[in-house]
């Protein structure tokens, strides 16, 4: 070990955590054109197309993606299948870390009464992205892409009348080219959050330590370590803020499945090298 490396290792032990291992976070968009952070050369009306690209998959009954005063608002209401709705970072390849304040308000997930044992319905608000591929992506296939997600979740199995949602960290590997099937590499429960309560979420790829770092508010960081190869670029480099639904197919009965998520995002930060142009 060189002297320099030794010094770094000692410093890492002193600081603990990941601060020394990853880039510092910098402001990306606070969704407030009047007091933009980071500052912009000119004020922008609405969502800044230089920083964001629209993303949507699946079908839905109703959706909103708009600048709502000083927040990004994403709303999706669906009664079928799975889908995501939101914004991709315009330069997603450079993004290795995302932080944002997230408020999921009035999320509702209704599953099936039949067939018995049908999968649960869930609706989420997420910071998410594809960070690497374990085997080297072929073309734009997402098979073997590894995704990391920090999300607020409503499930049809939540207690009736409960206003509690759950914050979860998930690392998954895509098992097909469309990434519609996945295997979980890591999950962590970051606790409950009330409907409408704001949570500050941070998701960071700590490639040097082969792990992802998750943090909610001022709680201790949670490390999601993995053992797969992380040196290949992902098939889809997208990083995003989204709301999602994942609903089972019901054979009969009422109520009909429903996935509803209405989320507000602001104070978005990214790793320094992904900072937007002024």
């Amino acid at each position: 070990m060189s002297t320099m490396n030794l010094k770094c290792a000692v410093l890492a032990l002193v600081l603990g955590g990941t601060a020394q291992a990853v880039e510092p976070m910098v402001p990306y968009d606070n969704f407030n054109p009047m007091k933009s952070n980071p500052p912009r050369a000119t004020k922008v009306r609405g969502i800044d197309p230089a920083r964001w690209v629209e993303e949507q998959t699946g079908a839905r009954l109703d959706a909103i993606r708009e600048l709502a005063f000083t927040r990004l608002r994403l709303m999706s209401r669906s009664d079928t299948g799975a889908g995501r709705y939101g914004l991709l970072f315009a330069q997603s390849s450079a993004v290795t870390a995302i932080a944002a304040k997230v408020r999921l308000n009035n999320a509702r997930s209704t599953g099936c009464t039949a067939p018995a044992g049908a999968p649960v319905a869930q609706s989420t608000a997420e910071l998410t992205g594809h960070f690497f591929n374990t085997r080297g992506a072929v073309g734009r296939s997402m098979q073997d892409d590894v995704t990391a997600t920090l999300r607020t979740v409503s499930r049809s199995t939540d207690p009736v009348g409960s206003q509690a949602l759950r914050v979860e960290a998930v690392i998954e590997r895509c098992t097909n080219a469309a990434c519609s099937t996945r295997t979980q590499l890591f999950t962590a429960d970051l606790g409950l959050v009330h409907q409408g309560e704001q949570a500050a979420l941070r998701l960071q790829w700590d490639v040097a330590n082969h792990r992802f770092v998750f943090q909610r508010d001022t709680q201790p960081e949670v490390y999601g370590a993995y053992t797969v190869t992380d040196t290949h670029a992902p098939g889809n480099p997208g990083k995003a803020l989204v709301v999602t639904h994942d609903l089972p197919t019901c054979t009969s009965g009422t109520p009909a499945p429903l996935g509803y998520a209405n989320a507000y995002f602001h104070d978005v930060f990214v790793n320094e090298s992904a900072a937007p142009a002024p």
């Binding site: 009047m34 609405g46 005063f69 000083t70 959050v193 409408g196 309560e197």
Partner: protein, 852 residues
């Protein structure tokens, strides 16, 4: 100024000459059969020479201005009694004149007494002419010959002197062109309209001479008796009054005045069409509607409390966008308040409606975190002329309420009368004035007080303290500031106009709010609602007492709690507090629900004089639960069931105001103070976001060759601010800047610049629609000139050349038409290059000095 009648007159396309000459006052006669009873006796003037204003409370008050001599203004009171006769126990009970008189016109005049060289009041002498035009409808319809005095018309001439102690009265009948100046003596005494007149100098009012007339209407004259005003199908009377003081060499000549009140030569009693039309009908209503809704959006403050409903901002906005004035509570997050306003105005734009104005705290910066706010939004589809935000004093709360900062919003809202079109003769071109009348407003307060128990304890104590605080705040706001209450110091986060503003104590004000106090519904009495009785009682809000005006008039509303009983078949269906889990069947259960949400009336200040506005009877109220359209599900019987949007129902109230005191007009023979202020600034630069940092380096006025420039460099941060950046003539300027002298005939120039402090160079915002001028100030800043010789206020071209100050761009109004509290107008920038555009409300007043 009677704007609505003028509008109606315009609509009827009366030829210009008649239109210019005739204005209308609606005066509902006191009807013994309808209005008076032993249980609720009426009050009527007694023509005893002492003008007691409230004896005329069923009538109307007008100013008497001397446009020839200047001096203090006088007062004129008019009241009419209808055909039904009075019994002894239903009118003026206990007074000398009992019973009261039917079919009478009562005229009361308070005329200023002159002062001698030593400054002491001396006697007054002069002449009062009263002209009465019967068959008024023929005059208005320009029947040949009816536009001049005819045989059925009367002139009553009073000559009097309080110095020499005489009063002589002569009555004449119309005889044009045969008589002298259109009038001839009566052929027999029986042709007279029986008249009583009395002149006095009451010791109780040493500054005035009082004159009272009682003129018997419908006296049954042989010619056209059926057309006399109170018996006719068209119940109208032409009325002209003129008091001409006799000049003296030993004292001032003051006290002249006329009805109708206008600057210009007297018609001399020969043009009947120039007299006022008294229309015996209910006063012209000024309709307004109010909505109170606690939307039950509880997120985040504190987070462990459940949401009081299933609605999102979208569905809430859908329920509010077409309201007139709405108080919305429990929108705790600043960004949700901003989003609500954006959604409401987006929906209005789809419906081709102008945006709503608002009062709300939108700035959740470090010093004002999201939870530290009232959670209130006050929306108005009418212009907000002034506004404020007040938080209850720190610690005046219990439990979770202390994690918020509840309080009161205030909006001074322009009524429909403020923007009713006024036609100004602009060099013989009828022009609609673009200004808004700053005197036509009501103060609206929006509040949400401490939650918790309704049994006596800490929660009720906190609420009582908050009601006291509301009362103190409301009083200071309505009286026109300044806000300097030493007992409840205003919070650092409060916002309100600096300085003072016109008093609103002369009219009702309205309190909309979730008052968290159980109140009676429908026919229930206050028994069992002790905290409610305390709330409206003298120790707290103090609105339950009948005012002297209430006691004296029979035609206006005394209701204070407008939604206590709802309109419709079940007045008890006034409950507003639903359960947090409720569905659309709750609409049938409102009579079993408790009532927490109110629309209350603060009456006009209780004095022995007229208010300026009163509430007409006939307000309506409804309580309406709101349902989430996305929540529909079928119950066991297959019925669609929708969840409530909120755990509170919406309260909707309609009212009608009426003006009972007319305004004074610009009188060049008086000294005047000119005021110009920037009252409101709204950022138009971005579609969303918060907040701009406003300041101004220049609010300028030039008058009489002197210029005063005020700067207000302290930044005010918000999307919309009400800064009151002011410049004015008068003594309290750093350098001499005198008021306009008597007889001033020059111009007064005014302008202001609106700037935003920015991260880069500061931005000079465009606040005027014109562009392409050489001078940046002409491109971006609005400029105005008051022309004293005509009383007209115009927006003008700019300031590069002297002639630009005289080059009109937009006529805003003429102070000859009234505008007693001033004129306001909004201008908006249209700079497409920078996008730095603001909408700015400018305020102007030419305020008569030495007014009584």
């Amino acid at each position: 100024m009677q704007r609505v009648p003028l509008l109606l007159a315009l609509a009827s396309l009366i030829p210009t000459g008649a239109l210019a000459a005739s204005s209308v006052t609606k005066l509902l006669p006191q009807d013994a059969q309808l209005h008076c009873s032993p249980a609720s006796p009426c009050v009527q003037p007694t023509a005893d020479g002492v003008v007691v204003p409230l004896e005329y409370a069923d009538g109307k008050k007008f100013p008497l201005q001397d446009f020839v001599n200047g001096g203090p203004n006088g007062d004129l009171f008019l009241s009419v009694s209808d055909n039904a006769s009075y019994t002894a126990d239903e009118c003026n009970v206990g007074k000398p004149q009992n019973p009261c008189h039917s079919q009478s016109l009562f005229i009361g005049m308070r005329l200023p007494r002159p002062r001698n060289a030593s400054g002491n009041f001396v006697g007054l002498e002069g002449t009062v002419n009263v002209w009465l035009d019967a068959k008024r409808n023929e005059t208005l319809q320009q029947v040949p010959g009816a536009y001049v005095p005819r045989g059925e018309d009367r002139r009553i001439t009073l000559s009097y002197s309080t110095v020499k102690g005489y009063q002589d009265i002569v009555q004449s009948k119309g005889d044009f062109p045969g008589g002298t100046n259109g009038w001839s003596p009566l052929a027999t005494p029986s042709e007279a309209w029986p008249t009583t007149v009395k002149v006095s100098s009451p010791a109780s009012d040493p500054a005035h001479v009082h004159i009272e007339f009682e003129i018997h209407l419908a006296p049954g004259l042989p010619a056209g008796g059926a057309s006399e005003p109170l018996d006719a199908m068209v119940r109208k009377l032409g009325l002209g009054i003129e008091h001409t003081p006799t000049p003296t060499t030993s004292a001032q000549t003051v006290g002249g005045g006329r009805f109708p009140n206008f600057l210009g030569p007297s018609a001399g009693g020969t043009l009947t069409g120039a007299w006022e039309t008294l229309e015996f009908a209910s006063p012209t209503p000024i309709p307004l509607s109010f909505t109170m809704w606690n939307v039950g959006q509880m997120p985040s403050v504190p987070p462990w409390l459940d949401d009081g409903g299933s609605g999102e901002i979208d569905t809430v906005a859908m329920r509010l966008f077409n309201k007139e004035v709405a108080c919305v509570s429990e929108v705790w997050m600043a960004h949700e308040r901003g989003e609500l306003i954006e959604k409401v105005n987006f929906l209005r734009s789809l419906a081709n409606m102008p945006p709503m104005q608002y009062v709300a705290e939108l700035n959740d910066n470090v010093l004002q975190p999201p939870m530290f706010n009232t959670g209130l939004v006050l929306l108005s589809s009418r212009q907000i002329l002034d506004s404020g935000v007040h938080h209850f004093p720190f610690g005046m709360c219990t439990d979770e309420d202390c994690l918020q900062a509840k309080g009161v919003l205030w909006a001074r809202i322009a009524t429909p009368a403020a923007t009713a079109p006024v036609i100004v003769d602009d060099h013989d071109v009828p022009t609609v004035a673009a200004g808004t009348d700053y005197a036509e407003f009501v103060d609206v307060f929006c509040t949400h007080v401490n939650a918790g128990d309704n049994t006596s304890g800490p929660d009720t104590t906190a609420r009582e303290n908050q009601f006291s605080d509301i009362k103190a705040y409301v009083q200071q706001v309505r009286q026109g500031g300044p806000l300097t209450d030493p007992f409840f110091p205003y919070d650092v986060h409060d916002s309100f106009p600096q300085g003072t503003w016109p008093s609103g104590l002369d009219r009702p004000a309205f309190l909309l709010g979730d008052l968290n106090t159980l109140g009676p519904k429908g026919t229930e009495t206050d028994v069992g609602f002790a905290h409610y009785a305390d709330m409206v009682g003298p120790g707290l809000l103090d609105i339950s007492k009948r005012s002297e005006f209430d006691k004296a008039n029979t035609q206006f509303s005394e209701t204070r709690d407008l939604a206590r009983a709802v309109s419709g078949p079940d007045p008890m269906a006034a409950g507003t507090w639903l359960s947090s889990v409720c569905s659309d069947n709750v609409a049938n259960e409102l009579n079993t629900k408790k009532r927490l949400d109110y629309v209350l009336v603060f009456p006009a200040q209780d004095t022995l004089d007229f208010p300026t506005f009163a509430l007409l009877n006939g307000s309506t109220a409804s309580v309406n639960p709101q349902f989430d359209p996305t929540s529909g599900s079928e119950d066991s019987e297959g019925h669609l069931v929708q969840q409530c949007l909120s755990d509170h129902a919406m309260v909707d109230v309609t009212v009608q105001l009426a003006r009972v005191k007319d305004v004074a007009k610009y009188n060049p023979m008086k000294k005047h103070r000119v005021e110009y202020a920037v009252k409101q600034v709204t950022d138009l630069e971005t579609a969303s976001g918060c907040c701009a940092d406003w300041f101004t380096p220049r609010v300028l006025m030039t008058a009489n060759g002197l210029t005063q420039v005020n700067a207000f460099p302290n930044i005010i941060e918000n999307q919309t601010i009400y800064p009151n950046w002011l410049v004015h003539t008068g003594p309290d300027n750093l350098f001499p800047f005198p008021d306009l002298p008597v007889g001033f005939s020059g111009t007064v120039n005014m302008t202001s610049a609106v700037w935003e402090s920015d991260q880069g160079p500061n931005d000079h915002y465009d606040s005027t629609p014109e562009s392409s001028a050489l001078l940046e100030a002409d491109n971006k800043d609005a400029h105005f000139t008051f022309f004293a010789n005509s009383g007209v206020l115009r927006r003008v071209k700019g300031e590069l050349l002297a002639i630009d100050w005289l080059t009109g761009v937009q006529l805003l109004g003429s102070f000859m038409d009234g505008y007693e509290n001033g004129i306001t107008v909004e201008t908006a920038g249209q700079d497409t290059a920078t996008g730095d555009n603001a909408r700015v409300r400018h305020y102007f007043n030419v305020k008569e000095l030495e007014s009584p």
